[in-house]
Symmetry: D2
C-alpha cells in the first residue's frame, strides 16, 4: 500500500511530504521530480508569483546512493516567501475559497490561519509524490500525460488523443492544449479575462497508457479504481467534476453506441476498437488507455473582487485579493497527472507486491503471462 501525507503552508517554511510504501531498488533521478515541479508552474495566465517561484525538491529520506531502499521517502520544497507569521490579518472571506467555512470549522479569528493551508500551493508536494509514482510506473511501461480541452468558451478539437500526440503538441502549447488553433484562442481568452480582472476555468484530460487489465475491483465498493481516481482528482483544489471516457456524453447516447465491443486477435489478445469507457469497466482497468476528464472552476481570487462580509464587523465588503493568476487549468492538468499516477502506482503495488522492484516486476510478468494465456 502506498500512503502519503503532506504538510506545509503557502507562506510557511516549506511544503513537504512523506511517502510510505515504495519498493526498494528504484533509481530516483531528482531532476525528474524537479521537472514535474517546473511543469506545474507553467501555463499562460499565471501571475508574477509563479514566475519568481522556482521549486526544487530536496529529498530528506528514503534514498541511499539515489536508490530507494524500502524506507519512506520524504521530500521538501522550500517556500521563497516564509512570512506566514508576519502577514496581515485577513477578515474578509473570499467567495469560492475555504475561507468562511474553514474559519468557522476551526474557529479561527484570522482567516489567514485557514487560507495558508487551503492554498493550492499544497499541490507542489503532491506533484513531488506523483513524480516518484511516475518513475515507478515507467518501469512497467505505464505513462501518464494530460492536455487541456476547454478554457472558458474555447474548446479543443483534439480529444481522445494518444499519449504521444499529447506530448508532441500539448507539451509545447502555452496552455498545454493539443489543438494549436484552440491553443491560440485560449491565450486570447486569458488575455481578455486578465484585462477585465476576471478569471477562467476549464477542462483537462489525463491519459494513462500501458495499464494492465485488472487493477481495482468490483468486489467491494471502496476498491473500485474509478472511485479511487475520482477521489484523487476531486481532492485537487478547485476541481468541481470528474468523468471517465466519454463521461457525461454517455447520458445522451444509446447503449449500442456506448459500450466498447470486444475483439480478439492472436497477436494482441483481447482488444477494443473504441474506448468510450475510458479504460475502466466494472471498477477495474480493462487494459485500454485510462481517460479522465476534470473540470476546474475559475480561480476564486479576482482582481475585480466579489461581495463579502467582514467577519468582525459583519459589514459588507469587497473580498480580499490575494493573488492574480487569470487561469490555472494548464497547471491543474499536471497535478491531475500526479494524483492519478499515485492511484495507479498504489493499485500496481497492491496487486503485484511492493517490497523490491525486482519482485514487483517478476510478479507482473507472471501475471502478463497468465492473462496472455487466458
Amino acid at each position: 500500500m502506498l500512503r502519503y501525507l503532506t504538510g506545509g503552508e503557502s507562506h510557511g517554511k516549506c511544503m513537504l511530504t512523506i511517502l510510505d510504501g515504495m519498493p526498494s531498488g528504484l533509481r530516483i533521478d531528482k531532476s525528474i521530480i524537479d521537472e514535474e515541479l517546473a511543469r506545474r508552474m507553467v501555463g499562460y495566465g499565471r501571475g508574477k508569483r509563479m514566475r519568481i517561484e522556482s521549486d526544487r525538491v530536496e529529498i530528506l529520506s528514503g534514498l541511499r546512493k539515489a536508490r530507494t531502499i524500502g524506507s519512506p521517502i520524504a521530500m521538501m520544497i522550500k517556500n521563497i516567501d516564509q512570512s506566514i507569521d508576519r502577514l496581515p490579518v485577513v477578515l474578509e472571506p473570499r467567495p469560492g475559497h475555504a475561507d468562511l467555512a474553514g474559519a468557522m470549522k476551526y474557529d479561527l479569528k484570522d482567516i489567514r490561519d485557514c487560507l495558508e493551508r487551503a492554498s493550492a500551493r499544497e499541490t507542489v508536494a503532491r506533484v513531488g509524490v506523483g513524480a516518484v509514482a511516475k518513475i515507478l510506473l515507467s518501469e512497467f511501461g505505464i505513462r501518464v500525460a494530460s492536455h487541456v480541452t476547454i478554457i472558458g468558451s474555447v474548446e479543443s478539437k483534439a480529444r481522445g488523443l494518444g499519449l504521444s500526440q499529447i506530448i508532441a503538441v500539448a507539451e509545447r502549447s502555452p496552455v498545454r492544449c493539443a489543438d494549436p488553433k484552440a491553443s491560440r484562442a485560449m491565450c486570447e481568452a486569458i488575455d481578455r479575462a486578465t484585462e477585465s480582472g476576471d478569471t477562467l476555468g476549464g477542462v483537462f484530460e489525463v491519459v494513462i497508457k500501458g495499464v494492465p487489465p485488472g487493477l481495482g475491483s468490483y468486489s467491494q465498493w471502496d476498491r473500485r479504481i474509478d472511485a479511487d481516481l475520482a477521489r484523487a482528482i476531486m481532492s485537487i483544489q478547485a476541481i468541481k467534476g470528474v468523468s471517465f471516457g466519454i463521461g457525461f456524453e454517455s447520458a445522451r447516447r444509446m447503449g449500442s453506441m456506448v459500450h466498447d465491443e470486444i475483439f480478439y486477435d492472436k497477436a494482441k489478445g483481447f482488444y477494443r476498437k473504441t474506448n468510450n469507457a475510458g479504460g475502466i469497466e466494472g471498477g477495474m482497468t480493462n487494459g485500454e488507455d485510462i481517460i479522465i476528464q476534470a473540470v476546474m472552476k475559475p480561480i476564486s481570487t479576482l482582481r475585480k473582487p466579489l461581495a463579502s462580509v467582514n467577519i468582525k464587523t459583519k459589514r459588507g465588503v469587497k473580498a480580499t485579493v490575494e493573488r492574480s493568476d487569470a487561469c490555472a487549468v494548464p497547471a491543474a492538468g499536471v497535478i491531475g497527472e500526479a494524483v492519478a499516477a499515485i492511484e495507479i502506482a498504489n493499485a500496481m503495488i497492491g496487486k503485484f507486491g511492493g517490497d523490491s522492484i525486482g519482485e514487483m516486476k517478476r510478479n507482473y510478468k507472471g501475471y502478463l503471462a497468465q492473462i496472455s494465456k487466458f
Copy 2:
C-alpha cells in the same frame, strides 16, 4: 467513523452488510429501510425481474427493542432466485461489464463467477446502509433527495431545485424527474429504446439540505468531503462522471459568474444568494445545499447484443443477454442518495462524535451556537 462492508451475489442466498460505528439510542424503523429498498426498484424502463422482486430487510444485529445500542448493524436482504451454483457457464464477456477484466484478474474460467458479484444487485445492501444513515441525519434536520435531469436526449428544465419541490414532483414521476413534460418525454424515449432492444443512460442530481458548514477539511488531501462524495458516487455501478454545483459548466463561465458572493444577515448569519459551488468550498460543506450530479451510462446488457469473443474458443460472438431493463437512471438516483447520505453521516460522526445520539446532538448544538456567534 462509520464503516461498512457488503457481501452477496446476485443469485446467491442474500445481499448483506455490516455497518459499524452508528451511535446508540437511535430508533430504527424497519419500514423506513424497506421503503428505501422499494424506491430502489421503481422506475419506468425496468424489466420483469424488478417487478417480481420485493426486497425486505432483515436486521440481524445492532438493535435492541428497535433502538441502536452502539453495536454493528447487520442487515440481510434475501434473494428470491438463489440458483447461483446451478446457473449455466458464461463464456462470452459482455462489453461494458466487469466480465472480461474481472475474469482475467481473478483467473475465472466461468464468467458467472465474476458477474454475480459485479452485478448492481449489490447496491441493495448499500441502500440499506444509506437508509440507516438517513435516519441518523434526520435527527439533525438533514434531508437527502434526488431527481433525474437527463435521460437520453431529453433534459429536464427543472434544475437546482429545492428539496421539497423534488419530493413533491419527482417522487411521483415514473422516471423520478421533477419536470412533468420532460418526464413524459423520458418515458417515450425509454419506450423507443425498449422497442429497438437498446438502452438509455442519464444524469441524476442528489440534493442534501440542512448540512452544517465545516464537514470535510482542506487540511489533508484525503479529508475533503467532495473527494469522499465523488468516490462514493463513482463507486456505484455504471456511473461514469460526478460533479458538484454547476459542475462542468464552471469551465465555461468567467470567475465573476461562478463564485457565490457572501452576505450577512442578523437573523440568518452568513448566507449566499447563489449556490454554484453546490454547497462545497475548500473541500468543506459551506452550509448551503449540497448538489451533486452523476452520469450513468446506458445499461450494458442490450437485447440487440454487441460483438464479443468466446473466452474458450476465442471465436467472435454476440454478447450474452442477462437481463433486459432499458433504463436504470431513476433507481440510480436512489442509490446516489444512499451513498451520499453515508458519507455525510460519517462526516457528522467524525466531527460530532458518535457514541450516543444524545452526545452527538449536544455536541452539534454546541457547534451551532459557536458558529452563530462567529
Copy 3:
C-alpha cells in the same frame, strides 16, 4: 488487504461476519470451519451453555460451487437463544466486564444493551474468519496451533514445542495442555475453583510454522507484524498481555543469552539454533516459528459475586451473575490461533498479491527462489 467486520449479540439472532479480500479459487470445506467452531467450545471448566451450543456456520456469500470467487465471504452462526429483546434489565455492572464503562460511554440505562455485544460470544465470528485464513495458509504450508501453558498456579513443563507435538498431545488434553501431568493438575485446579464459585485465568501459546521471512516491515511503525499480532491478540476479550518468544524473560537475561545467532547451511540456507525471538526480528518474520504467548484473566463472572453498585439506586450490591464457566483459557487459545492466522494471511496477501490463489502461489514461489539465492 484482508478486512473483516463482525456483527451480532450474545442473545441476538446470530453472530456474523463479512470477510473482504480473499483470493479466488480457494476450496472452502465448510466442515473445516465447523471443526474450528467446535474446538472453540471445548475445554474443561466450561459451563452448561457451552455444552448445549453446537455452532454451525452458514456461508451466505463469497463461494460458488464451494470455491472462493474473489467476492466477500459472509458467514453466519445462528444463536440458539435469541431472546435479546425479552431478557430482563441489568442494573448492576459486573467488575472486570465492559458493563460500567460501556453503559456510560453509550449512555445505556440497561446494561444488557452493552453486555450483549461485549460478550466473548463475538469470538465465534472471528474463529470463522480464522478458519478461512487457516485454509488459505495451508496452501502455503503454513500451520497454526496452540497449547495452554498456565492455568492458575499450574504451569506446563512443555514449552517451546513444535507444532506436531502440540497437536499430538495438547489437542487431546481436556485443557489443551501439552504436558499430561500439568493437564491433570489444571483440571483439578478448575474443579476447586468451580467448587468455591471462583474462576481461573491462564496463559496460552500460539505457534505458527512455515512462515517465510519478510512479512511485516520496520519501515513504518504501523507495518510491524509483531505490532499487528499484538493488536489482534489483545483484542480478544479478557486478554491482558501478549509477548513473543521468550517474552518477559528477555528482561532478565544478558543480551548474549537472548539473540538468536545466525548460521548457514547449503541445504537449509540461513538458520538459527535457538528461537528466543519467537520468529520475529525488526518487526518482520525471520523464517523461524512464530511463538506468541497471551495471558487471559479469570472469567469476570463469578458465582461468588463481587461488590458492585446499582446504577439506578446507587446502592451497593453484589454483581449480577450471567454465566458460570470456571475457566476459558483452552478456548482462548483457539481464538488466539484464529486472530493470528488472520494477521498472517493478511500479510501474505499484502506481500504476494491476493487476486487468485494461482497468482499468489506463483508470486510466493518466485520469492522463495529469490531468497534461496540471496
Copy 4:
C-alpha cells in the same frame, strides 16, 4: 482521527514526521518537545553517540504564531552524522536485528540499506509526535509518565505507583527507576554488563492519569483501546511483550482476587479500590489510571559479538558491531509514553471531535456532565 508517518534514516539528513488531525488553537511550546527529545537520550548505560547527540526539533508546518491552525504538523530533527551514502557496506547480519530478514525482504545486497531505517533512531520522530499529543492531553488534565521496573536481574519494589511519585523519584534516577535502592543496583548491573561487553534489557511501566471512562470500544475488534495501545507499544524497536494492570500475574490469581470491585460515592461517583485491570475493561478505559508494562530485550549489538554469516561469502563470522549502549530501557520508557500518548490523544479526538481545542473541550465537558449524572 490522528495520523502520522515518519521518515528518516539513522545517518541520513534528518528524522521527520507529519502529524495530521490535531485541533486548532493549541499552543505548542517548542521547548516542551525538545525536553521530551532530551528525556529520550538519557539513561545510564548509553554509549558515546547519545551524549554527543543533542536533538532539537524544527517545526516545519502546522503552526502560526506558535499555535496550531488545524494543518498537519511537520517536525524535523536533524542528524549530526549524515554520512549515509559514504558509510561502508555491511555484509554480516546482526542477530536480533532486522538485518537478515530485512535484506531478504527488500532484496538488499548491502545490509546498511536496511539497518539505517530499522534503527531505533526512528523513535525520535515518534517522541516528537508524542510530545505534541501530551500537550493536547494536558489540556484535559491527562498526564503520562513512566518508570523502569526491571533491568536484568534487578527488580524495583516500587510498582503500581501514582504519577506524582514517579515524577518525584524516577525522573531523577539515572535509570528512571522509582526505587532508589533498585536504581543503584541497576546501575551496577549495567556497569557489569558494559565490562563484559554484554547488554541488558528490562521492563518499564507507563502510567496515564486523568483519562475519562469510555475511550475505545468493545463494539468491533479493532476499536479496543488496549489493542491499539498494545500495537503502539509493540511497534517500538526491541519490545517483546506488553501487558496491562497486573498483566501476566492475572494468570495465577483466582478471579475473586483479580476483578476490581465497583463502589459509589456521591462526591467521586463510581470508583474502585483496586486497579488490577490497569484502567481498561471491555476494551475501554474505565476512568482509573491506565497502567501498561512492556518488556524490552537487551540491545542486539554486543561488544562481544554473536555468530553470524557473511551474506556474500556465506562463511561464518562474528556479527558487525554498530554501536555500544549497554542498556536502553530508561529511554524506551520515554518512547512508550510517547506512543501511548498518541493513542490516547487519537481516542480523545475520535470521541470528542478534533477541529478546535475549544470545541473539543466543550464536548468533553458535556460528556463529563453526562456521566456524572449517570
